[in-house]
């Protein structure tokens, strides 16, 4: 059935069953492939996107639950890599394979939007649902702190969800 959906500030209509997870609507219908499939059961966090600014697992979010809430994917943080989280991830050179990092960055961006100066404890609870099979956790933690510093230097960009 047709759904109206707002992703990264753009409205589209997609023809999808109500139970179809947002992950596959993004990847296979809207051609937004930053969001990754890793487990399909909310264990790995590779599919993390923002729904109305809150981090959710797109693999477990059916289309029927999205409604009019705006969706933000990694592509929507910024296309040019200028969001503080993207800048920090580049600066620290976090990834090895990079497959989990879209989800990591979306969890980090949601954290910073709510908690601009996160402590290590804040980072623990925000990021613990995102697995990194390559084990880049030390750099992920560094990058979240770095992103907080960059965001405070440029407060206008301190938002995980940018609605154009």
């Amino acid at each position: 059935m047709p759904f109206k959906i707002n992703v990264n500030g753009t409205s589209s209509t997609v023809d999808a069953p109500p139970e179809m997870p947002l992950l596959w609507v993004l990847r296979d219908l809207l051609n937004l492939q930053a969001t990754k499939y890793g487990c399909g059961i909310g264990q790995c966090g590779a599919c993390t996107v923002h729904l109305a600014g809150k981090p959710v697992r797109a693999c477990l979010t059916p289309m029927s639950a999205v409604g009019t809430q705006p969706v933000t994917t990694l592509e929507g943080l910024s296309a040019d890599g200028s969001h503080p989280v993207q800048l920090a991830w580049q600066d620290i050179d976090v990834p090895q394979c990079g497959y989990c990092q879209a989800g990591q960055m979306m969890s980090a961006a949601a954290l910073l939007a709510k908690t601009p100066k996160p402590t290590d404890t804040d980072i623990d609870s925000a990021m613990n649902g995102n697995l990194c099979r390559c084990g880049t956790y030390i750099r992920i933690r560094q990058a979240v702190h770095k992103a907080a510093t960059l965001a405070s230097a440029a407060p206008a960009r301190n938002s995980g969800t940018k609605v154009r």
Partner: protein, 740 residues
Amino acid sequence: MKRTEKTSMERRSFLKVTALAGGGLLFGLAEAPKAHAQGRGGPPAAPPDPKNFIKIAADGTVTIVAKNPEVGQGVKTMLPMLIAEELDVDWKSVKIEQADYDESRYTGQSAGGSTATPNNWTPMRQVGAAGRAMFVAAAAKQWSVPEADLTTASGKVMHASSNRSATYAQLASTVAGMQPPALASLKLKDPKDYKIVGKTQPNPEIHNIVTGKPIFAIDVKVPGMLHAVFEKCGVFGGKVVSANLDDIKKLPGVRQAFVIERPDITDAVIPGDPGLENGIAILADTWWHANNARKQLKVTWNEGPRAAGSSIKYAANAEELAKKGPQRTIRADGDAEGALKSAAKVVEASYSYPFIAHAPLEPQGATASFKDGKLEIWTNSQIPGNGRRMAAQALGITDKDITQHMVRGGGGFGRRLNNDYVVEAAYIAKQAGVPVKLLWSREDDMAHDYYRPGGRQDLKAGVDASGKIVAWKNHFISYGEGERFVASGAMGPTEFPQRFVPNYHLGASVQPLAIRTGALRAPSSNAFAFVIQSFIDEMAHAAGKDPVQFRLDLLSAGGDAANAPGVDAERMKGVVKLAAEKSGWGKKTLPKGTAMGIGFHFSHRGYFAEVAEVKVDAAKKIKINKVWVAADVGSQIINPGAADNICQGGIVDGISEMMQEITIEGGKVQQANYHQHTMMRLTQAPPEIEVHYLTSNNPPTGLGEPALPPILPAVANAIFSATGQRVRQLPLSKSGYSWA
């Protein structure tokens, strides 16, 4: 210890230069055919085609081809760094281009065994140096000056006394007509002059990764393609008897559904990799539609004989085999039994470790298009050449009919050394008649891996009155048939501490296995280091010696190592001392319940010793406070930032393995997803991992694998020191432990 650098370029090599239509140039490594095949008189090896690595565009852009599969190990940065260094161009002017698969053009293209560095260290530098030499020669000719008076920097040739300079792009037309130099004649840079190598260079894909560009195999799209899933029997080798395909075809979004009967492959082209299995392909408009349709599948399977596979039975069989003693002897030095009788102290212990899965975060998958007898395929295979051979055989075409694109893989860890999913995609695309993107579910991946084989080792060793190990016996109980071990399930005759103990006996027994096995990052070492380095720790405590000093003494007992295979004792002692020094071993007072443990291991030409500081609370919750890594991988760390990242990842990976277990009942794997086969999370991983390199006068070797094995015994030995409880069985959960 000095060792001369050996080049892997045994064949006479030369540079092939080709003028490009756009005014640029291509330099490529090409090898002349060997005059005679080595060994037992087969036909001479066919001459490979010239392979191209460097393009200098008219506008000065330097494009360097990265030839190996990238699965997160950083090879797409590292190999081009070697070329750029000797070519003498600025790294910021370099564009990196991923090669397609074609070993006749590029030489070896695989990701496995931590071989990229040792195999390419010299040839890739020679490719760059040959390019530089030709620009120097071109300038010398243009200016009529001796080559010796010319220097290069930043993609330019300079003549200081006349204050002349020319960019490589300006010299390109002169170079095009020149004869390339013989690679062996080239003088390579003194490492002290390096501008690129030895300096941290970022991942060339970093911007694509942080902006979510479609760079992974799962992201490949081909016009008109359908999304495919492939349902296989939970028992390896099981076959479809019947299925409700007519019902499936009616489901929303489903376009095709069909049974694939494995073609009769009597002679597997890749030993140990059966490739295509029997199963049901469902093709739909989206992957979700295809995968969702599987829920409605009603299949009658003929599970076949492997349905008898059972972890409970394997453990019981291993117990029986242990009682009977080794089926055969792998190695016997001296008289272990006799030496045990006269030893001052004898320690006996049985160790075991489970099957575990690779579970790279990107599930297996490939995209294939088959038209007019030709296959085009996009894969993240770690050995694309094997995938091509297997696909060619399964489709009844030749290697030349296949174009294979090498796409970034979301992790590898050895899983993508096997090409079953590549053959599946190819076969499904051919049968479907449309391009197909095959993607496995996580559950498919967990159920159809090539698992790290489990095993059991029953050890008995003795020390003399001075605390020296005088006898070592190991009954290695694995899987296989007769004298054949399953893949990655063998122990060789030089396994440590062979050569360091005068009376050494290694015996082996095997039992048949119903599942597939294969290489997991640091294969065999990832299990053996846990056993051997834990047991050495037991010996140290039995002898009343400090575990570090005991190890140094053991490593000193091997005599002259210069011509012995395996461990170079001096290099290993170097890293053991470095790990002890950096961790403050024996010098710190740690709180009750917190302790350090050490382990070392040699694998993939790398020497690693690691210390873990571990806290164990009353509820047996384990926190790894900090890890110190000491590594000797030769004279040069090529990309230091990436090297640290890989070493730290190896530590996290190794610790994760201590809680993982795959079990089998009814021939089927019982774990389905990450909740049942866990990996460390951010809060569980060590918050600090220090990596220290001991540079030695040896050619550089790889880091992807050898950093992993020592961390398992380092943690297990720390648990012993913290609690007095010796861990002899993995996963740790069997002894009641969990991560804090």
